[in-house]
Each structure stands twice: as structure tokens, then as C-alpha cells.
């Protein structure tokens, strides 16, 4: 059984669930890692260290910036010539698109965001959530190769054997890009909610601190956003201490408190961290479907009747502006940081 594993990276920073995909591929037999881009030798070496039996590197100027069309064509050409049984990807904005397009070229299908995969003869059965995670389906793909994007943190990450050497083969890029990349916006920092083991999230409640006096000259909306940003500073402090990411409810994003990239929930990112701390989030269904698979959920809210408490293992009815800094302090002490 031969599996291609697409190693997704952004400017050389690898999406960690690429390695989880590699581990899954190894459990079925031979794992061939694919690395596209320019100057990606380090990524290829890492793929060897994480267990790839072979690495195919397409290093070409047309691949410097991700463009779905040329990435998909390169992938489809490699799949046509080497006939893998399975192609695995981490689930990202990039892989959804390139897998989608390559599936058209190869006349096969893509199983997205899967949390389980079993071999069944020379095919596979995948487990994936549908209807916002309200229902789970098992699904099969009759085309070949079977293509699947895996959910972050759903499969074990293999050990890295640093310094291990292996076969790295250069391959050609194929196809034409249909767009140009004009640049990147720095307005939003890297937010990797899907891979985060700890997420601390803030909701509408983070703006609700009347004791703060906003700088003079702000109108009501500006003052609200300013207050919310002070609240998110407390959320961020705890998240950083725990080595985690900052999440947000839709209400907080819609309120302009924090960029969309932080949004957890039905219209944002569906996450499954080990620890999820919700501060000032009431727990609308849209949010709950996005985080209810977290291993441990802690909720802090002023309103004892907030629906978030129905989902949580531990709850605190109280003011997040008092509880969060106290929790950060207590954690600092107990974790010896």
C-alpha cells in the first residue's frame, strides 16, 4: 500500500498535522511525502525525520507562492505517474482547494476533515463530522487514489528522529497558475486554532468591564472595542502562559474586538484542544458545535444560566476580569513559570 502525504507549509512553517498525516500513512504501508515550494530542503529533511520512506520535492519558481491551480496540477501529475492508493493532507485552506481540484483531474473524491480512517481491502472507510458535528458519517470513495484531509490532533503525531537520512527526489512542477500573489497582509497574526492543545477564548463579555475608563475622545463603539481589547489582553496572557492559542466567539468577532481568524464555531474553526477555557462566552449553539469536542472545557461567565455551563466540566460564575488574572497567577505559581 502506497500513500502520498502532502506536507502543507507556509513559507517553510509546516502545519503540524502534516506529520500526523504522515504517521497515519505509515500505519498503512509506504509513506511518500510531497513537498512543494522553493527553498524547501529543510521541510523535506523534516519529512524524512518524521518517518517518510521517500520525499518528492517539487522546487520551482511557479510554486513559490501557493496557487491552487499549479499545486493541484503538480499533485495530479505525480499521482497519475506513481499511482498511490491514498493521498493524505492536513486540513487547511490550501489543501482543501488543491485536493478539490486534483480530484477533478484524477476523477476521484476527497473525504474532508476526517477523524478516523480504516483500510478496507484496497480502499478506505473514513469517519467525518457532518451537519456541524451534530452527526457523524462513515464514508467511502470509489475513485483511485482515495484523497482525504485529516482533522488536526485526531491522529497521533509520530516521533521525530533528528538527523535521520533518507531518499529525497526532485520532481517537476506541472501546470499553469491562473493568478498572481501580490503580497501578504500582516494585519492578522498567525492563529493556529486547529493545532492548538490549549485554547483560551473570549466572548462578548470581554468588553463588559465598566470599571475601565477609555481614553478621552472615543465614541461609544470605540470605547467598547477598547474595553474588549483590554479583556482580550487578559485572555491572551493566560493563553500564552499555557502555550495555547486565543479563540473568540462570533459575537466578539462581529463586535470588531478581534479578527475573524480567531473565531471558534460553526462559521469559524471547529477545534478539539485538550483544554478549552471560555471566558465571557454565553455558549450559543454556533459556538458549542465548534468546541464541544475539547477534552476539558472550563467556563467562566457572570450569568449562572449561560448555556456554556451545560457543556463545561468546570464552571465559575464570576467576573472574568477578576478570575482570569487570578487564574493566570495561580497557574504561573503551580506550573513553576
Amino acid at each position: 500500500m502506497k500513500t502520498f502525504v502532502y506536507i502543507d507549509h507556509f513559507k517553510g512553517e509546516v502545519q503540524p498535522s502534516s506529520w500526523e498525516a504522515l504517521g497515519l500513512a505509515k500505519s498503512f504501508g509506504t509513506a511518500v511525502a510531497l513537498v512543494f515550494g522553493t527553498g524547501v530542503d529543510d521541510v523535506a529533511k523534516m519529512a524524512v525525520e518524521y518517518g517518510a520512506d521517500e520525499v518528492l520535492v517539487a522546487d520551482d519558481p511557479s510554486l513559490t507562492d501557493y496557487r491552487a491551480e499549479v499545486y493541484a496540477s503538480t499533485l495530479a501529475a505525480l499521482a497519475s505517474s506513481q499511482s498511490p492508493n491514498l493521498i493524505l493532507f492536513p486540513t487547511t485552506a490550501r489543501t482543501r482547494e488543491m485536493a478539490a481540484m486534483a480530484a477533478i483531474d484524477l476523477n476521484t473524491g476527497v473525504l474532508t476533515d476526517i477523524s478516523g480512517l480504516e483500510a478496507n481491502g484496497d480502499s478506505f472507510v473514513a469517519t467525518r463530522p457532518i451537519y456541524e458535528g451534530k452527526v457523524i458519517e462513515k464514508t467511502v470513495c470509489s475513485g483511485k487514489p482515495v484523497m482525504a484531509t485529516i482533522r488536526g490532533r485526531a491522529f497521533p503525531k509520530p516521533e521525530r528522529a533528528e538527523g535521520k537520512s533518507g531518499t529525497i527526489t526532485k520532481v517537476a512542477a506541472t501546470g499553469e497558475a491562473k493568478s498572481t500573489v501580490e503580497g501578504y497582509g500582516a494585519s492578522e497574526g498567525a492563529v493556529n486554532l486547529g493545532d492548538a492543545a490549549v485554547i483560551v477564548s473570549g466572548g462578548r463579555g470581554v468588553s463588559n468591564n465598566p470599571s475601565l475608563t477609555p481614553p478621552a475622545g472615543m465614541d461609544e463603539k470605540q470605547a467598547e472595542v477598547w474595553r474588549a481589547q483590554q479583556g482580550f489582553a487578559l485572555v491572551t496572557e493566560l493563553a500564552q502562559l499555557l502555550g495555547g492559542a486565543v479563540g473568540a466567539s462570533r459575537a466578539a468577532v462581529d463586535g470588531g474586538y478581534i479578527p475573524y481568524a480567531h473565531q471558534v464555531g460553526q462559521t469559524g474553526k471547529v477545534v478539539a484542544p485538550d483544554l478549552y477555557i471560555a471566558a465571557g462566552i454565553s455558549g450559543a449553539i454556533q459556538h458549542l458545535v465548534g468546541m464541544r469536542n475539547a477534552k476539558l472545557i472550563v467556563a467562566i461567565n457572570k450569568d449562572a444560566d449561560a448555556p456554556i455551563f451545560k457543556q463545561a466540566r468546570y464552571g465559575v460564575v464570576g467576573d472574568l476580569f477578576a478570575i482570569l488574572p487570578a487564574l493566570t497567577e495561580a497557574m504561573k505559581k503551580k506550573l513553576g513559570k
Binding site: 512553517e13 502545519q15 501557493y66 496557487r67 491552487a68 485552506a93 482543501r96 482547494e97 488543491m98 485536493a99 478539490a100 481540484m101 480530484a103 477533478i104 476521484t108 473524491g109 476527497v110 473525504l111 463530522p129 457532518i130 451537519y131 456541524e132 451534530k134 452527526v135 457523524i136 458519517e137 462513515k138 464514508t139 470509489s142 491562473k178 493568478s179 498572481t180 500573489v181 501580490e182 497582509g185 492578522e188 498567525a190 486547529g194 492543545a197 490549549v198 499555557l242 468577532v253 475573524y260 460553526q266 462559521t267 483544554l275 477534552k295 476539558l296 455551563f309 466540566r313 468546570y314 464552571g315 464570576g318 478570575i323 487570578a326 487564574l327 497567577e329 495561580a330 503551580k334 506550573l335
Partner: protein, 256 residues
């Protein structure tokens, strides 16, 4: 500018969806336009307002999906088309892309075909890129803003790492995300117009397409495991005391 907004009808997100007898059931919850697709319609209307032209809403679904198209008309779309055929019951995303591409060609093509980022039901988010691939058009995915100058389209694409600014020439296929702007509410006039509209229904034969054999099929449907719902409230005299207790609880769970 000729714009096509592709939409789907799905159960309302408040619906209690569950697996029942091997089928997905949502009780008597209403079927609505896929919430992500409202952004597609909004984006299409913004483009029409900025560059004039027309917006056609396009949907694959049963006869009842006309209601979702009426929502798009009420928001301000000029026309709506439903592709409906009993042979489309088990459509996968590759099949949907082929049928949409055929319908788009039957409409006479477009300068922009706009999708929402994904649907609430299947949630795969593959159809926009697959439609672009079938049509051979550039795909500008996950656009948070769209700017057109002459024949050039520039979008700010929202990705995990931030924003990627991408440019392509019309015609293009786009998918849009929330930053495009909150979908407008249907106006009174819009609702009246939509209620009177006659929505053409095209069969596969009408668009010159054959029934695509599904490649991806469901073999089993399950309800997620019921979660342990016992909550323990942490109380104390002071925030410090509460925090102390809570920190001990979290550490004892060994999740850090």
C-alpha cells in the same frame, strides 16, 4: 458585470439534527439558505452595485429549494434558477461541480461565480474549487474583500496565517468569507418581488448534463457519543481562592 451566486438549501443551524434509521433527520426545523451562501449573495450584490450588471442565484435541490432562491431574490438578486432532477439525489461534490458548471454555461457564463465557503450540511467546502476546475477558471478562494479594476480582480484571501492578496483576470470563481460584510436583510419590496417571481426549474436534460455517478458515498450514519454532562462549579470567597481551586482541578486533569 454578470454575476452568478451559487447557493444551497440546508436545515437551519438551530435545528436538532440527528441520525435516525440511517437517515439524517432535522424534525420540523425549517430549511433555509445556507448561512455561508448569504455572504455569497451579499458579495454578488456589492459587485453589482459597484460595477452594475446582474445577479443570478443558482441552486441545485428539490422543488422546495425555491424558498432559498426566493431569499436571494428578496435580498436583491435579479434572477434565480433551480436545477432539480430526481437523478441528483445522491450528488457528491464532484457531481455538484459538474452540474453547476453545466448550468452556468447554459445561463451563458458569467464574469464572476461566487460561492459561500462551505455548506452547513456536508461541510466539505470542495465545490467552489471543483467548479472552477471544471470550468477552467481561476479560483480566488476565501475572499474577505473583492476589488475589480478593468478586467483584474484583486481579493484579500483569509487563510490560517493571515491574508494573502491575490489577483486574477475575469472571469473568475470566488468563495467569500464573513469579512465581505453582513448579508443585508431582505427589503419589503424585495420580499414582494420574490414572492411573485417565477423561478425556472431545469432538469439535467435541460442543461445538457448526464447524471454524475457519485464517487463519494455514505455507508453509515451515527450520532456523536453523548458527553459527560456533569459540571462542577468552583466557588470561593475571593477570585484568588477560586483561581487556586480551579488551577488545581485543571492540573489534576493532566491536559497540560
Amino acid at each position: 458585470m454578470k454575476i452568478i451566486a451559487c447557493i444551497k438549501q440546508v436545515p437551519d443551524s438551530e435545528a436538532k439534527v440527528k441520525a435516525e434509521g440511517g437517515q439524517v433527520s432535522w424534525g420540523d426545523a425549517p430549511l433555509v439558505i445556507n448561512p455561508f451562501d448569504e455572504y455569497a449573495v451579499e458579495g454578488a450584490l456589492q459587485m453589482k452595485e459597484a460595477h452594475s450588471g446582474s445577479v443570478t442565484a443558482l441552486c441545485i435541490g428539490p422543488e422546495s429549494a425555491k424558498e432559498a432562491l426566493k431569499h436571494a431574490l428578496a435580498m436583491g438578486a435579479d434572477e434565480a434558477v433551480l436545477v432539480s432532477d430526481p437523478a441528483l439525489d445522491n450528488l457528491d461534490t464532484v457531481g455538484a461541480a459538474k452540474v453547476l458548471a453545466a448550468a452556468i454555461q447554459k445561463i451563458g457564463g458569467a464574469d464572476m461565480v461566487i460561492f459561500g465557503r462551505q455548506t452547513l450540511d456536508n461541510g466539505a467546502g470542495l465545490t467552489p474549487a471543483q467548479t472552477a476546475r471544471v470550468l477552467g477558471l481561476p479560483m480566488l478562494g476565501l475572499a474577505g474583500s473583492i476589488k475589480v479594476e478593468g478586467s483584474a480582480v484583486t481579493v484579500e484571501r483569509v487563510i490560517e496565517e493571515g491574508r494573502q492578496i491575490m489577483k486574477a483576470n475575469l472571469p473568475v470563481v470566488l468563495s467569500v468569507v464573513q469579512s465581505i460584510g453582513e448579508p443585508r436583510y431582505p427589503s419589503f419590496m424585495g420580499i414582494r418581488k420574490a414572492s411573485k417571481a417565477t423561478i425556472p426549474v431545469w432538469s439535467l436534460g435541460d442543461i445538457g448534463a448526464s447524471a454524475p455517478a457519485p464517487i463519494v458515498t455514505r455507508t453509515e450514519l451515527m450520532n456523536p457519543p453523548v458527553q459527560d454532562a456533569t459540571i462542577e462549579m468552583i466557588t470561593g470567597e475571593t477570585p484568588a481562592e477560586i483561581a487556586e481551586k480551579l488551577a488545581d482541578k485543571i492540573i489534576a486533569e493532566k491536559v497540560l
